[in-house]
Amino acid sequence: MTWSPSGGARERATADALDRYWDAVTGAHPGGPSPAGEPLDPGLTGSVRRLHLTEAAARPDPVFAAKLRGELMAASPAPAVATPAGVAGVGGRLIVWPRHRMWVELAVVAALLVVILGGGAASNLPVSLAPVPPTAAAAGGLVPAGLGGEAACAPTVTPGPARAASGGTPAPTTPVPTAPARPTAMC
């Protein structure tokens, strides 16, 4: 952006004054803006006021608010496992599932069960009697052929919540929360 020197200086002064005014309106500076500050165009200050007045107070559902509060308070002190859309965990950690994701993941689990049981039936071997390869046993359970063994069960680690925004939205530069790397694959 380029401005003419005089117009630019004046515009910056107005921008500073508007910023101070707005901080005062939102209560950030309880004492209000400095009396020595640049006088603002009443039309601008009126617009700020009007915008806040017309901003509807969309409040969260009290049931949701209470439920989330309870879940947060029940969370363990150890960092919870966070995902972009929600949080899942065990052992007292947060269980905040987005509705749509919960059903998708349940469907995936059901499909895997069908594959495992169907594979056992197709080979005429009862699943409970089928020999378990040592690697699969070491990996912690039954792993159908073709789905991989330890490699498939190796947890993939994704970065913590600090993500650089791209696509036109600048990435936050400072205190971006850094949670420990988290496993996203459950085996």
């Binding site: 601008l44 009126g46 308070m73 960092p79 929600g86 939205t169």
Partner: protein, 207 residues
């Protein structure tokens, strides 16, 4: 000390500490919450409404706003040990901002972010319909005419952030944020139909 006691104590701190700045109060609450997770409750109570409103304005549905709000606070609680200095409110809104971006990307990954502004419920429940008042729609319509960068600034302003905090969340300079909000308000002033002389001068404001 039981969890309830912790919550009461720290709610009390907030109540009696009004002369102190929000940042000072937040810093104390964060320090306490690091030691005792239940002490996170006052922080949750302080910021539930602004975070929810911000998510609702950006995402447009109650369900999406609730999911995002849940993720914001869960992630904040998990990442609390990583929080150092600066405005806790800005730090929290960085999380909210990133989660909203993630949500938009999952919805329509092929679209540029600048085009992903559609906070309108197509099939609102009666409760949502009540929330979607004329005033909210008015603000929504007003913000929709602004360029994306100006809109982001005003959305955070309406969530109660200061100019410096907005700069932090958006990764812009404070001067850039000031100019964006000035230009946004200059444009909205005409849309709002605010005649000259209907406002007050800056030094008249006492919150």
């Amino acid at each position: 000390m039981s969890g309830g006691d912790v919550e009461r104590v720290w709610t009390g701190v907030v109540a009696v500490a009004s002369p102190r700045s929000d940042n000072e109060i937040d810093r104390e609450l964060v320090a306490r919450a690091r030691l005792e997770p239940r002490a996170f409750a006052p922080l949750y109570d302080r910021y539930l409404d602004p975070i929810y409103r911000y998510c609702y304005r950006r995402l447009g549905t109650r369900e999406a706003a609730e999911d995002a709000t849940s993720a914001v606070f869960a992630r904040a609680l998990a990442a609390l040990p990583a929080y150092r200095d600066g405005s806790f409110r800005a730090w929290l809104f960085v999380i909210a901002h990133n989660i909203v971006i993630d949500t938009h990307r999952r919805r329509r990954p092929e679209q540029p972010l600048a085009d992903q502004y559609e906070p309108v419920d197509r099939d609102p429940t009666p409760e949502e319909a009540a929330l979607a008042s004329d005033a909210r729609q008015s603000v929504h319509d007003l913000l929709a005419i602004l360029p994306a960068d100006q809109r982001r600034v005003l959305e955070l302003r309406l969530a109660g952030l200061t100019g410096a905090e907005i700069a932090h969340v958006l990764g812009r300079s404070v001067a850039a944020v000031k100019m964006l909000q000035l230009r946004a308000m200059t444009r909205l002033r005409a849309e709002l139909g605010v005649p000259v002389g209907s406002g007050e001068r800056a030094h008249d404001v006492v919150s």
